[in-house]
Point group: C2
Chain length 438, copies 2
């Protein structure tokens, strides 16, 4: 029996992830001690209500409502409360009292990341957050360390399990968004107020975190262009299916050239996009997450797994905790956040991608030529056109697939189409992502 | 302009990976310095022949044939020579002279890993090897750090690109092994002597490395059960396809209970196996690699990407180099190898899995009952039987799919079948992997 030194671990938050972290810390105490070289001593769990029902049975004496007292004297503080305050204040208190911090708080990192990282760097404390993106999937550490010698060109991420479940169900069961959302709510994949998920807010926070990390640049969540899935229709998914595509809500982080200045910049954005069924991301079903990374030397990589869930996310928290614990034992500091590149963050108008535009048009001679003319005027090159005539035969539906085109040019094209005499309605505009860039 | 301190990097080996590492070190010098906080100074490249043609144009003055001299005074030594000797001696020299080491040498790690890790630990040096398994795919670091707080139950890996290319081609083009191998050779995916790949030796080395890491146990390559793909036939792949399966060469590392002692042990093995087409591994095409990890808390994770290639593998080497460089700058030691669990490594007979057994049998009454009887006698439960009568009608083909059964029981069943009067021939036995374990 080896006598280990002991590290004091304070846990803030007793929800589904917190309860699993506490359980594993207690159940796996000896094994974790062998891996760390020190005992991880759970000194307490700060919660709002000590008597609330928990998903896991835990010793009552661990619970306290006094988070500030608990943080004092802790070697590592695990923040799993969520939200901005008081989480932000507690993390700053922990850092300033000399503790390292593990957090899964994506909202806080996406809004106050630079402040927290700066505070940590000033005192030589560590701030780890593997669980903030992709649940159990190791994605922060690979970006932070494994690809540290490479140049990331682009990230395409399915980072929100709820919306992936909904879109996957709309595709496989051919249901409407409303029905798929109802099923997601019934099965516990969607919350009572699903806005954060289906509005793309959750994905935007994760995009900000991934872009900051991948491009060594601070990308605040406010700079992330965001569209949710609320406007995605059964018809769009059906039309995508016929063309060999699936619709996914993607968080896209991309290094690109600013069309105005010619300088390198970064784009972070979230929107539903068409992805070819042959792309690895198309095979990500249900509530799973996956992050597809394109790097200059490494080529294409994908990281796949459960994006949420209490015990799954707890695995990522414990991985961070073991890493931090080892650093305590061997005595060396860890890694600082790196934002030396500070590339400009570009507006959505600066991106180029492919588009699928569905139009309802008058079914009369010369329409196709008129429409093609509008695209040509704005410099948007058309790859294919598919026409189908409606039952009433007075209108027809045109689906136009474009080559890579600037977002600004496409937006101007759509404006011009909307006011064109032969166009009854611009039924749908979807971006098409995942193709190899030239 | 910041004045950085300089770290001396010595490179051993100027092959396709080495040349790309050298190129990136020279081309990305400033960016890497910003990431590391120190300049990575490539002080030389040790090769056998200074005048040999290289895939990349590099300054001639960097090349030397004197590896021992080059190692002296290096802060980090990158070993990309391959093979056991002199790579082993050079790495030991580097460690003993105080340098950290990055290597992609899977053969060396799988045979002399414990010796090298012990030598490194004794002097506090670091030995990193992300590039040894899965090329550019970050898999070593996720296992070593991200899952450090979790318990890995099983790993199913497609870790050899050559054999995956061949099997994928046999499946998609319906060609024979010989034709697919010829194509692989033409396209440069297979070497002139393909034994290391198609015999499963390369995959077995990677299985030894993954099992050691995942189970905190030294698993030497000699303890890895190994079958190559040389016996895989067009007919097996056709029959698998009809049943909804694809044949993949898998490296399997599993935590299981020794049926004899009832104690926990580990199994590491390589063989061609049937994988359901709905499994994420089935979608890994061409020469790509993927590692599917099942952990207790994290659930199922998959890591996917290019498993080989000079520039891809160089990305993994540089990631290790940046990590080590940062540690030099911040002054702290890194992670020691962990083999505290030292679980017993079990024989192939100890595993349980599912099987697909193809038999040629006499087409006469009572045959099915006789065959079923043989399985029952050995305690192997049959899940499904498919019978097809040959053109000549004197013999029939039976495919029997089993439930999970012990390998030892299956082997005894196959022996009994082979000597059974009604069985003309045991045409094929394939294991079926990838199902959720109970």
């Amino acid at each position: 029996m080896i006598a280990y030194r002991s590290l004091r671990v304070a846990l803030l938050g007793g929800g589904s992830v917190g309860a699993q972290v506490a359980r594993l810390l207690l159940e796996e105490k000896e094994e974790l001690a062998r891996r760390v070289g020190a005992t991880l001593e759970l000194v307490g769990i700060a919660v709002r209500d000590v008597d609330a029902r928990r998903s896991v049975d835990l010793p009552r004496e661990l619970f306290t409502t006094d988070a500030e007292q608990l943080i004092l004297g802790a070697d590592v503080v695990i923040e799993l409360m969520g939200g901005i305050e008081p989480a932000r204040s507690y993390i700053l208190q922990a850092i300033n009292s000399g503790a390292d911090v593990v957090t899964a708080n994506k909202a806080l990192l996406a809004t106050h990341g630079p402040e927290l990282f700066a505070a940590a760097e000033q005192v030589g404390a560590q701030l780890y957050y593997e669980a903030a993106v992709g649940g159990a999937i190791p994605i922060i550490r690979p970006l932070r360390e494994s690809l540290a010698g490479d140049t990331v060109r682009r990230i395409l991420g399915i980072v929100n399990g709820t919306t992936n479940f909904i879109l996957d169900r709309m595709d496989t069961e051919r249901t409407s968004l409303e029905d798929a959302l109802a099923t997601a709510t019934d099965l516990g994949y969607a919350e009572a107020d699903p806005t954060a998920d289906i509005g793309g807010y959750d994905a935007a926070q994760k995009a900000a975190i991934l872009a900051s990390l991948a491009f060594h640049t601070s990308v605040p969540v406010e700079a992330v262009y965001r569209e949710g899935i609320t406007t995605v229709t059964k018809e769009q998914i059906e039309s995508a299916r016929k063309a060999g595509y699936v619709v996914k809500l993607l968080a896209i982080c991309e290094r690109l050239t600013d069309p105005e200045t010619g300088e390198e910049g970064v784009s972070a954005r979230v929107y539903p996009a068409m992805v070819s069924r042959t792309h690895p991301l198309a095979a990500v079903h249900g509530a799973n997450n996956a992050v597809f990374v394109e790097a200059e030397a490494a080529g294409s990589l994908m990281f796949y797994g459960a994006g949420a869930g209490g015990v799954e996310t707890a695995s990522a928290v414990l991985g961070d905790l073991v890493s931090l614990g080892r650093r305590h034992v061997v005595g060396g500091p860890g890694l600082a956040e790196s934002t030396h590149a500070e590339l400009p963050v570009l507006e959505i108008g600066a991106i180029t991608t492919r588009y699928a535009v569905s139009l309802e048009v008058a079914d009369e001679p010369g329409v196709l030529a008129a429409i093609a003319g509008v695209f040509a005027e704005h410099g948007v090159s058309v790859e294919l056109v598919e026409q189908s005539v409606r039952g009433d035969a007075a209108t027809a539906t045109l689906v136009i697939g474009t080559h890579e085109a600037p977002e600004a040019a496409l937006a101007a094209t759509v404006d011009a189409l909307a006011s064109n005499r032969v166009v009854t309605k611009v039924a749908s505009v979807l971006r098409v992502e995942g193709a190899q860039r030239q």
